[in-house]
Symmetry: C2
Subunit: 358 residues, 2 copies
């Protein structure tokens, strides 16, 4: 059997509950496809702070580096919100991205036919929406130097961050985006603020130059404010979107929320080589943690992305995704996607019906 | 009669058509309220580039500075999109904002009861939405230094912009926001990315400190990605939003598009003293320019904001806003807000019925 070492990062809040479900599903899939998963757990985020004082212990990063793939659940919670920056859960996540070189973040925003009515948008506007946001994840204003709070000559404070991209960083994410668009609907929309920002003008120039290598992909450009409007006005116009770290953070969340069911959305963060990190788009939901109420399906679909991208097991990935569709077709719903006439289940019960469907 | 010098900046595309309607309306209002408007026109944007080579001729700025208020229509168009940055229409707009010290941009996103169905969102989600976005307009990454495209040691290009705020800049816009919230629903939501950006942490700290001076205002904070989601999920939770230049650009456009009728939305840009600039949220719509199809009502409502904020004529402002409601109640619609059973009118015909309603 093919062997895979998977590092699990349950993190905070509902993290441990939902990652358990993904592990259960992978274990069944493993038997079916003769894949031998060994799971090892490590600390990140708030729980890592509580245990070690650091949101990303050196050991965690080492374990991730030595594995074939990483599954992350969710990090953060009110409890750690007022700690100094270097001790915040988010700092652990940024450190993981930088430490593993995960420059490409793939965030699908797909409306499942069973859940169209969960959207706050009208059925005819969102039915069939299937967007992939390709977000640059290790550059831009998230990591640019200089940064900090400095004292000015007049004695007041000045907060500074630097939004910067080197051409090689843009080319690298651009290639991933063009290749992604190629495998999808063949349309790529690059989002920037080139009418105001120099860094965006460089972004636009490089993406435009890359287009010559992908003649079958139709490239367009939008300013970020217009992109935010178009997502609300007519989301079906989008296939693949590529953008920088900050714009990608904002637009991928807006796109996700168009579906009305972010409890269903997975994501993948990939580097040039080495393991990727697979995690739900939603957060750690501390308010319902430990109550067996969480929706584990985004975590399960993240495991499916892992099978596809890191482990190159498309058939196993398909099987897992199909099982998720089956439980939805059987009308099982966790609280976040519940609607009239459906069967309300908890997190572990959802796991049971999913395993049955597998 | 009270005398007012108003500078008109028709700009590009549909600008001249729609500003004409606002002038016609102000002229009638002037007679009714004994206000004596003198209008002077100046160049900005693409039309200024064509005539003078500069998107903001020195003369325009001088004229604006010497007037009681400024009405701007819209700037830009494909024609000027590939000019070098210092010759772009947008650069003229940024220069106007900086030149007049317009640090506070007020952008209402209001759903009019007559136009609820124009929204792509479900009626129950958007009915009654009434949001005011207070956007900082002369700082942040739009103006921060250093900026530009530089060569790195390894010979590649690096695009750089600086997202920076001084505490005094934050306090200044914060005060406007708290005062705005005070006069509205008493709720202020400050939007930043304090979990990642130092400049946002300073923003959050200063806004939080200001809150002590406004005990009747209920202050909350959201990260920008979450704010984008919440606007789509449940926009009625918002009353007043305050945020920086870039986040305000994105979120105010997303909020505007929730209404489905951005042809109806005005805005005001205000400084510490001196004239403000009043303009529609929508753009110059070059595709329908000169065809008498444009919706002039956002420009008219911008004139109403001017009467209220710069000229301190609330009764005249109310009258103008009421006339706009009247023509909507009479079922007159331009193409952008047309729906079944309504009466389709052009730009000048809309003016005629508006003047009749006045
Ligand atoms: C938690 C935070 C640092 C993170 C980000 O901004 O990247 C999150 O919002 C995300 O999108 O994964
Ligand atoms: C045209 C552009 C420079 C401008 C901005 O980004 O501020 C516009 O989008 C706006 O919001 O007024």
């Amino acid at each position: 059997a093919q062997q895979y070492r998977i590092t699990l990062l349950p993190g905070d809040g509902i993290g441990p509950e939902i990652i358990t479900v993904a592990v259960q599903a992978l274990t069944v899939i493993g038997k079916q496809f003769d894949l031998d998963f060994s799971f090892q757990e490590a600390l990140i985020g708030g729980s890592a702070i509580d245990a070690t004082g650091s949101p990303l212990p050196e050991e965690t990063l080492k374990l991730c580096r030595n594995s074939d793939s990483v599954m992350l659940a969710a990090i953060g919670g009110y409890k750690w919100d007022s700690l100094p920056r270097h001790q915040r859960p988010e700092t652990g996540l940024l450190g993981l991205r930088a430490g593993l070189g995960l420059f490409a973040n793939l965030r699908p925003a797909t409306i499942l036919p069973q859940l169209v009515d969960a959207s706050t948008l009208k059925r005819e506007v969102v039915e069939g929406v299937d967007i992939m946001v390709v977000r640059e994840l290790t550059g831009g204003v998230y990591f640019g130097e200089p940064k900090g709070v400095f004292e000015t000559e007049s004695g007041e404070q000045r907060g500074v961050n630097t939004m910067a991209y080197r051409s090689s960083e843009i080319d690298r994410i651009g290639k991933v985006a063009f290749e992604t668009a190629q495998k999808r609907g063949g349309k790529l929309c690059s989002v920037d603020k080139a009418n105001v920002l120099e860094v965006s003008q460089l972004w636009r120039d490089r993406i435009t130059a890359l287009a010559a290598d992908y003649p079958e992909v139709e490239l367009s450009h939008l300013y970020v404010d217009n992109a935010a409007m178009q997502l609300v006005r007519a989301p079906k116009q989008f296939d693949t979107i590529v953008t920088g770290n900050l714009f990608g953070d904002i637009l991928s969340d807006a796109a996700a929320m168009l579906t009305g069911s972010i409890g269903m959305l997975p994501s993948a963060s990939l580097g040039a080589d080495g393991p990727g990190v697979y995690e739900p788009v939603h957060g750690s939901a501390p308010d319902i943690a430990g109550q067996d109420k969480a929706n584990p399906l985004a975590q399960v679909l993240s495991a499916a992305m892992m099978l596809r991208y890191d482990l190159n097991q498309p058939a196993a990935s398909d099987r897992l995704e199909k099982a998720v569709m089956t439980v939805l077709d059987q009308n099982y719903r966790t609280g976040d996607i519940m609607s009239e006439g459906m069967k309300l289940v908890g997190c572990q019960e959802m796991s049971d019906v999913l395993l049955a469907a597998l």
